[in-house]
Point group: D2
Chain length 117, copies 4
């Protein structure tokens, strides 16, 4: 490919990203307030999301998911925190659509079937 061809490559139409966001330098070991602010942003954004104890999973197009996670950094900065770090796991697939819920169900089915036999 020529360099000019690269800029035209589209980002994935669908992805899921699990992220955990951390404020640094706050003088407070609790991050619950910052996480709550991010949950309000996610709710307002309209993207599908599920919180668990080690992060939040967001589903949608690559661009909308990454926009809202970037905004999450901004929201945590707005609480007065000068440094924000996040850890993410992003998955994309072209073979079939699969929701976060279906992924868990699939594993549970395998386990249930083995217990039966």
């Amino acid at each position: 490919m020529r360099p000019s061809d690269y800029s035209a490559i589209p980002t994935p139409a669908r992805c899921y990203v699990d992220f955990c966001i951390l404020p640094l330098g706050t003088g407070n070991t609790s991050v619950a307030q910052e996480v709550a602010e991010v949950q309000k942003l996610l709710k307002a954004s309209g993207v599908a999301h599920t919180m668990h104890s080690a992060g939040t999973t967001v589903e949608g197009s690559w661009d909308e998911v990454m926009k809202v996670i970037g905004q999450a950094h901004a929201v945590v900065h707005q609480t007065g925190c000068a440094r924000v770090q996040s850890s993410m796991r992003a998955g994309t697939r072209t073979d079939k659509p699969q929701t976060a819920e279906e992924k868990v169900k699939r594993v549970e089915e395998i386990l249930a079937k083995e217990e039966e036999s």
Copy 2:
């Protein structure tokens, strides 16, 4: 500290680790079978654990949690997979014990209180 002093540093007595394990080179895009094998290992190990759509959170001492995640790599290799990769988030704190469940509850309380007011 002298080098000899470092080897005596104890690993944390308590931690939580959220991990996502991936088999590489399997010729199969589904990872559900491998994840199910890991869930059986976790159940047999007796460590506290919760599966979600983007990983599993394990709680216990650093040594027991890391032993079982290392065994999880071994279990996936045993399914015939020559390369295994995992992504982890590990947290330790010395100020207070806090379970995975309490972390989620704390955020939900903040959100509920704000909605009331």
Copy 3:
């Protein structure tokens, strides 16, 4: 904030993201060919980036960095891989700009100063 206010929050003007991208279901344990394709994309994109043995660090605005990582997923899909997973660490700060190179230098200075004394 009202929901309408959230959509106007800008993503960070500057960030660094370290990412590791993995093709799943390829039937091949080596990922070097896919990583090489991603390096060509990064070079063509013009964003600052440094490869190391466990990933690549990219620096720029949130939007341009996330666009190119999304394109990296697309490029790996184009090699014939139906499922792509990546792990990322993203950092943003509002107190001062700091390049990846400066971060390493800062740690090395502390270590050098302590060895002297």
Copy 4:
């Protein structure tokens, strides 16, 4: 497998783990001092390691690598920090040994060969 069989599964004899460690609640956005403490620990431990701008890659047996990363959490707690979080990428393979250095070299060879042709 019976539960008793699981406890006998050995952890991997060889792995590489790339980790990034973060102190929370310090009231200071810089983490260079804590990272320098961890580098001293790694040096004293004798495990193979390489620092880059977004983390440090450690190589060795699963048990020795995870012991030293657990000790790294302890060392950061000793600096007075009550909460420590790390993000890790762990890789194991049974097909062939491969060092961190060889992984980078392999990608560079592919890129060099393509530029020639």
